[in-house]
């Protein structure tokens, strides 16, 4: 049953394998810049946050940020490109592959991009600092990484399916995705929000991804509430992406 999505994913992996090393510099540039600028540049100005040196505090957020934004961009741009530029989606659609196979394969590709690129940034940050991760932390982090990439990949899939102009996708990235990521605890604990806003902020899936991911990586703990939030959001985003793609493609 998964043969169809696997074939779609297989194509994306050939392309990823070929471009991985040339793309790597672009992928790690911005998280690494933040890491060096804030971690080392502001070292004397920022005390421990939540009892952790700031440079450690923000490391998980940067890894997660890389993963989820890579998942979003891959899905959004890839679907747009295959639909509007290459028309390869139509080449797929005259074979026994179904519309579901295509969208599921594309979402898996987005998750793979997120995971692989997040792991690359993690490896570099670990080489640079004292963030030495235990196996338990890594295992605890895995659900956040996978579910987070999944949610962002599904949202990217929806954007790449409904938006026809490339500049609109760029705008969504700048106006929705990046602010959402930055405001969800990459650089500060969400407890900094005013008390009145906190209950709402804690309900955001992005908060669950970044806060939960940080607890996992720094303390090796799994927050059940956050994981449940992510699981539900992932299922909803997946259903939404499949539905939108199916409606839009089957004219």
């Amino acid at each position: 049953m998964l043969k169809g999505p696997f074939t779609v994913w297989w194509r994306d992996m050939i392309v990823l394998r070929r471009s991985f090393f040339s793309e790597l510099a672009a992928v790690v540039a911005s998280p690494l810049t933040f890491y060096l600028a804030f971690g080392f540049g502001l070292k004397g100005f920022i005390a421990n946050v939540d009892g952790v040196p700031y440079i450690l505090f923000m490391a998980p957020g940067l890894i997660t940020m890389t993963a989820v934004s890579a998942a979003f961009s891959e899905s959004a741009w890839s679907l747009w490109f295959h639909r509007r530029v290459q028309h390869t989606i139509e080449a797929y659609r005259v074979t026994p592959i179904t519309v579901y196979d295509i969208v599921i394969g594309k979402i898996i590709s987005g998750v793979t991009h997120g995971t692989v690129k997040g792991a690359a940034v993690a490896a570099i940050i670990m080489m640079l600092t004292t963030l030495h991760l235990q196996l338990a932390s890594l295992l605890a982090y895995l659900p956040y990484l996978l579910l987070g990439s999944m949610i962002f990949s599904c949202v990217g899939t929806i954007c790449g399916t409904v938006l026809n102009k490339p500049e609109t996708i760029g705008r969504v990235e700048a106006v929705v995705i990046m602010p959402l990521i930055f405001m969800s605890g990459v650089f500060f604990p969400v407890s900094s929000y005013p008390a009145a806003m906190l209950p709402f902020v804690r309900l955001l899936p992005t908060t669950a991804i970044f806060e939960g991911g940080r607890y996992a990586l720094l303390d090796g703990t799994l927050n059940a509430g956050y994981v449940a939030n992510l699981a539900i959001s992932a299922v909803a985003a997946f259903a939404g992406a499949v539905w939108v793609f199916n409606r839009r493609i089957e004219e």
């Binding site: 043969k3 074939t7 194509r11 290459q86 080449a91 659609r93 074979t95 026994p96």
Partner: protein
Amino acid sequence: MRVTDASLSLRRLCKRYGDLAAVDGFSLEIRRGSIFGLLGPNGAGKTTLIRMLTTLLRPTSGDALVEGFSVTTQGRQVRRLIGVVPQENNLDRYLTARENLVLHARMHGMAPSAYDRRIDELLEMTGLASRQHDFTDTYSGGMQRRLVVARALIHDPRILFLDEPTTGLDPQSRRAVWDHVQSLTAQMTVFLTTHYMDEADTLCDRIVIMDHGRALVDGSAAELKERLAHAHRYELQLKGGGDRYEAVLRGLPFVTELKRDGDLFCVALAGEECLKPLLDAIGNADLKSVSLREPTLEDVFIELTGRAVRE
């Protein structure tokens, strides 16, 4: 035609875009193993029709059966049986030519043992074997076209849809595609559209000319030309005095059409019986030869769809 002979059967197939009926109630049966040609001016609805038959577009109403499977409810079964060459090349430029073919074979559920040899054969046939490991965006337009044709054949389809397969090909490649298409009909039915009248004339067993979403005529090339035999077109070759004779010919009430190229005239007459008065009017002095002009498929096409260029 017995139902079982029909490879493709269209039942009042319609596609509307708002007020525009791009395809307007098309019904047709196409015999297995034949080469069917669909002709029509730009915007006639050819591509829309093919897109519905290949399950890319949902008909507004009506249905079509491909080897007995409905395009509206049994899309997956239909797609197993068809090969498609779309009007616009849709190759993956991030993959090499061979990888493009392998991806397509895998999408048809083929195993490497089945597709490797088949792909070698097709690359050989299309003359692309030596460039198979290059990315497709380094290919010329004609090479890309040949690769798309090869891709459509990997899984041995029962029906091959070709939307203007030879547009942009050089004469050698066009002939190679024709030869290949002709050699296929032992196993498959071919449905093609083209703007080249000579292509339709040489290749197709049966031709439909359509315009504004509707079929205008249906028959073999010979039958379609036969329809224009009543037009009585003659060619007159004169020894000289073209200007003088043009005035004479224009003055004759039964000359319905007149084209002149120096001393060569092409005239259409109202009826066969007008030939004698025509020759009397010209006289023997300057007449070199008179011949009946066989109508071409292009004459039929223009006659049916008019001379005006489409928007």
